[in-house]
C-alpha cells in the first residue's frame, strides 16, 4: 500500500486489478494459462458440448466414412437450418424462464399459410411469407396477453396453442390436403439447393475474425484509457486468427461439394444477430435479468411485461419462419408439417446447447450447437442400416453421451463454487 502509484504502470494500479486476492495473467501465455485454469475449474462455456460433438462425429465417421463427405455435411447444414431457426426462438422464451410448446404447430401453420396464399391464392411469395411470420407474431402476442394479463402459465397457454394452431393448420389445408410448392421457384430453390458463391463464402468466413479483431482492439484501447485491465493484443490476434482459420477450412472443405447453403447462412446470421441482441443491448440485458429474478428486474424499473411479450412474439415469429424454411426445404406444405418431434427437437437443441430451462442462463449459439448435435445423430444414423428400434435406442444413448461431457464439466464448476 505504497503511495507512489502514478509513476509506474504496474497492473496493480488498474481499477479492476487492485484486489490482491485475484490471480491474473497477462499476454498470450497468460491467456493460455487462464484457459487451462478454466478447464480445470470447469468453467468452459460451450466447449464440453463441442467435445461431445467431436466424439459423436468421430464415431460416426469411423462407422461410415461417407458421414464426413462434404456432400453429406452440406445436407446436414440444410437440415440444421429449419429446426435451428425454431430453436433460436425457443432460446428466447427459455431465457425468460418460460416455454413455448406450440412452435411445431406454428411452424406447420406458417407453412400452410404460405402454401395457400402463394400457391392457391396467387399472392407474391414474399408477401405470403411475411403474412405467415406476422400470423406467428400474432399468436405470440396472444400468449403474451394470456401470460401478462391473466397470469396463465406459459406451459398451459402454449399447450392450448399447440392444439388450436394444429387445428387451424388442418382447417386451412382441409380441402386440398397438402400443397405442392412449385419446384424450381426461388423459394424452393432456396430451401433445396441455393448455395453461396465459393468466393463469397470465403470472404464471409473472414468477417468474424475481422470483427473480433476490430472490437478487440477498440476494447483494448478504451479500457487502457479508462485505466482498466485489458486483454493483450496478442491473445486477441491469436483468437481471431484461429477462428478465421477454422472457418476457412470448413468453407474450403464444403466448397468441394456444393458449398455453403444460403439457408444455413440465414440461420447463422440470425444466430449472430440474436447473440448481439442478447449480449450487447439493453433488451438482452433485461431478458437475462427477468429470467434470473423477475421481481428484481421489476424493481429495477424494467417493463417486465414488455420483455415477456417480446420473448413470446419473437419465439412465435421465428417458429413461423422456421416453418416457412422447412416448407421450402420439403417443397410442400402438408398436414404433417410441424408435427412429430419438431417441438421436442427444438427445445432439446436449445437445452443441449446450454440454455437453462429455468431462465436467465443461455445464449444464441446454444441453438446452433444443439441442433448440430441433434441433426448429426440423426444424419449419422441414416448412414447405418439399422432397424427403427435400434435407431431409437442408439439415438437416446448418443444424446446422453453428447451431454454427459457437459454435465461433468458443470459438476466440476459447481464444486469449484461457480455454479
Amino acid at each position: 500500500m505504497t503511495g507512489n502509484v502514478k509513476d509506474n504502470a504496474l497492473p496493480a494500479t488498474m481499477l479492476d486489478r487492485s484486489d490482491e486476492r485475484l490471480k491474473h495473467e497477462a499476454g498470450i501465455g497468460g491467456a493460455v494459462r487462464g484457459f487451462i485454469d478454466r478447464v480445470r475449474s470447469g468453467d468452459l462455456g460451450s466447449l464440453p458440448v463441442v467435445v461431445g460433438l467431436a466424439l459423436i462425429w468421430t464415431v460416426f465417421a469411423s462407422l461410415n466414412p461417407i458421414f464426413l463427405s462434404s456432400n453429406n455435411l452440406v445436407n446436414l447444414l440444410f437440415d440444421c437450418s429449419t429446426v435451428g431457426v425454431i430453436a433460436l426462438g425457443i432460446v428466447c422464451v427459455l431465457m425468460v424462464g418460460e416455454i413455448d410448446l406450440s412452435v411445431g404447430s406454428i411452424s406447420g401453420f406458417a407453412s400452410a399459410i404460405v402454401g395457400t396464399l402463394w400457391v392457391n391464392q396467387g399472392w407474391p411469395v414474399a408477401l405470403a411469407i411475411l403474412a405467415a411470420v406476422a400470423v406467428g407474431g400474432l399468436i405470440g402476442s396472444l400468449y403474451a396477453l394470456l401470460y401478462n394479463r391473466l397470469g396463465m402459465p406459459s406451459f398451459v397457454a402454449t399447450l392450448s396453442g399447440l392444439l388450436a394452431v394444429l387445428g387451424m393448420q388442418l382447417y386451412i389445408l382441409g380441402s386440398t390436403g397438402s400443397i405442392n410448392l412449385p419446384y424450381g421457384s426461388a423459394m424452393v430453390n432456396f430451401g433445396q439447393m441455393l448455395v453461396m458463391p465459393r468466393l463469397l463464402a470465403h470472404v464471409l468466413a473472414v468477417v468474424p475474425g475481422v470483427v473480433m479483431l476490430w472490437t478487440g482492439v477498440r476494447t483494448i484501447s478504451r479500457r487502457r484509457e479508462a485505466n482498466l485491465s485489458a486483454p493483450s493484443l496478442g491473445s486477441i490476434v491469436l483468437r481471431a486468427a484461429a477462428t478465421t482459420l477454422v472457418l476457412e477450412i470448413i468453407v474450403l472443405y464444403l466448397n468441394q461439394d456444393r458449398g455453403i447453403p444460403w439457408m444455413f447462412g440465414l440461420f447463422v446470421g440470425l444466430v449472430m444477430l440474436m447473440n448481439y441482441a442478447l449480449t450487447r443491448t439493453q433488451w438482452g440485458r433485461s431478458m437475462t435479468a427477468v429470467g434470473g429474478n423477475r421481481e428484481a428486474a421489476r424493481r429495477a424499473g424494467i417493463n417486465v411485461r414488455r420483455i415477456y411479450a417480446s420473448a413470446f412474439v419473437l419465439c412465435s415469429m421465428l417458429a413461423a419462419l422456421g416453418g416457412v424454411l422447412s416448407a421450402s426445404r420439403l417443397a410442400s406444405a402438408s398436414q404433417q408439417a410441424g408435427t412429430g418431434d419438431v417441438n421436442l427437437n427444438a427445445i432439446a437443441a436449445a437445452v443441449i446447447g446450454g440454455t437453462s430451462l429455468f431462465g436467465g442462463r443461455g445464449n444464441a449459439y446454444s441453438a446452433l450447437l444443439g441442433i448440430i448435435v441433434i441433426q448429426s445423430i440423426a444424419n449419422g444414423l441414416t448412414l447405418l442400416d439399422l432397424s427403427s428400434s435400434l435407431r431409437y435406442m442408439i439415438t437416446g444413448g448418443v444424446l446422453a453421451i453428447a451431454v454427459i461431457v457437459d454435465s461433468l464439466a458443470r459438476r466440476s464448476r459447481v464444486s469449484h463454487g461457480r455454479a
Partner: protein, 273 residues
C-alpha cells in the same frame, strides 16, 4: 411519547406525505393508519421491532406493493404508484432489505440494470469505470465487478445495491437497513454518504436497528410498532426512550440485559481473569 409537535423546522419543502396508509396481507394487517411526512434535506429514520411493517411501508413507497387504504402525496401531488417504475420515474430510489439483485448477472450489469448506457450497443467500458468509482466511494471490497452477484458475500451484495441507488439523481432515497451486512468501514462510508445526500437537498428515509447509527444521521426518528405509528423522536432522545417505544414496554429484554450485565460484571469482576 407520541407528541408530534414539530420541535425543529424542517429543512425544506415537503417531499412526501402519507396519510392513513394501511396494508393487509390476507389475515395479517401489516400496516394500520400510518402517517408520515418527509421534507427535502431531511433524514427520517424509521425504526421498529421486527415485523413492525417498516419494509412494507418502504415497499409501498417504492411501488412494489399497493396500499389497501390511504393517500400518498409526493411533492405536492397525490400519486398512486402501480409499479416500481412509476416510483423510479417520480424520483424515488430504493435500497431494499432483500436487495433485489439478479444473481445471474455480474456487478456492473446489476448496478446499471434498467438504465444501461447506450441501450443499442452497451458501453461496457464506461459502465465498468463508473461501477468501480461508485464502489470505491463506498469502500467496497469486491475483487472483480465481472463476477455474478451469486458469488459475492452478503456485505458485498449490499454495497452493490447501495451503489445502484446512487446512479440516479433521485428526490427521495429509501434505505431499508442499508448497513445491516456492512463492515465497520463500509458502514461509516454509507453514513457519510447519507449526510452528503442530505446536504444536497435530497430527502432520505432510513431504516435501521442500530440506534447509534440512527441517532448519528437522522433528523427525526419515526417509530412503528405492530404496524402503527408509535411516536416521533429526535436524535437527542435517550436510548431507553427509543427502545421503550419500539418494544412497547419499559421493562424489556434490552433493559433487563443491561441490568443483568451490570450486576454480572460486578459479581465476576475477579471471577473471570
Amino acid at each position: 411519547m407520541t407528541e408530534t409537535t414539530d420541535r425543529k423546522t424542517p429543512a425544506g419543502e415537503m417531499v412526501l406525505s402519507l396519510r392513513g396508509i394501511s396494508k393487509s396481507f390476507g389475515a395479517v394487517s401489516a400496516l394500520t393508519d400510518i402517517d408520515l411526512d418527509v421534507h427535502a434535506g431531511e433524514v427520517v429514520a424509521l425504526v421498529g421491532d421486527n415485523g413492525a411493517g417498516k419494509s412494507t411501508l418502504v415497499k409501498i413507497l417504492a411501488g412494489v406493493h399497493q396500499p389497501t387504504a390511504g393517500t400518498i402525496t409526493f411533492r405536492g401531488r397525490p400519486v398512486t404508484m402501480t409499479d416500481p417504475s412509476a416510483a423510479l420515474n417520480l424520483g424515488i430510489a430504493t435500497v431494499f432489505q432483500d436487495l433485489a439483485l439478479c444473481e445471474n448477472l455480474d456487478v456492473v450489469a446489476n448496478i446499471f440494470l434498467g438504465r444501461e448506457l447506450k441501450p443499442m450497443q452497451l458501453d461496457e467500458t464506461a459502465m465498468e469505470v463508473r461501477s468501480w468509482t461508485l464502489l470505491n466511494e463506498l469502500s467496497a471490497r469486491i475483487p472483480s465487478v465481472r463476477i455474478p452477484i451469486a458469488s459475492l458475500s452478503g456485505g458485498q451484495r449490499q454495497t452493490v445495491a447501495i451503489a445502484r441507488s446512487l446512479l440516479l439523481e433521485p428526490k427521495l432515497i429509501l434505505l431499508d437497513e442499508p448497513t445491516a451486512a456492512l463492515g465497520v468501514a463500509q458502514t461509516a462510508e454509507v453514513l457519510n454518504l447519507i449526510e452528503r445526500v442530505r446536504d444536497r437537498g435530497l430527502a432520505v428515509i432510513m431504516i435501521s436497528h442500530n440506534m447509534e447509527d440512527v441517532r448519528a444521521v437522522a433528523d427525526r426518528i419515526v417509530v412503528l410498532r405492530l404496524g402503527r405509528n408509535n411516536g416521533v423522536f429526535y436524535p437527542d432522545a435517550t436510548n431507553q426512550e427509543l427502545v421503550g417505544a419500539i418494544t412497547g414496554a419499559v421493562d424489556n429484554s434490552v433493559t433487563r440485559r443491561e441490568e443483568r450485565r451490570h450486576a454480572g460484571q460486578q459479581l465476576s469482576e475477579g471471577g473471570r481473569p
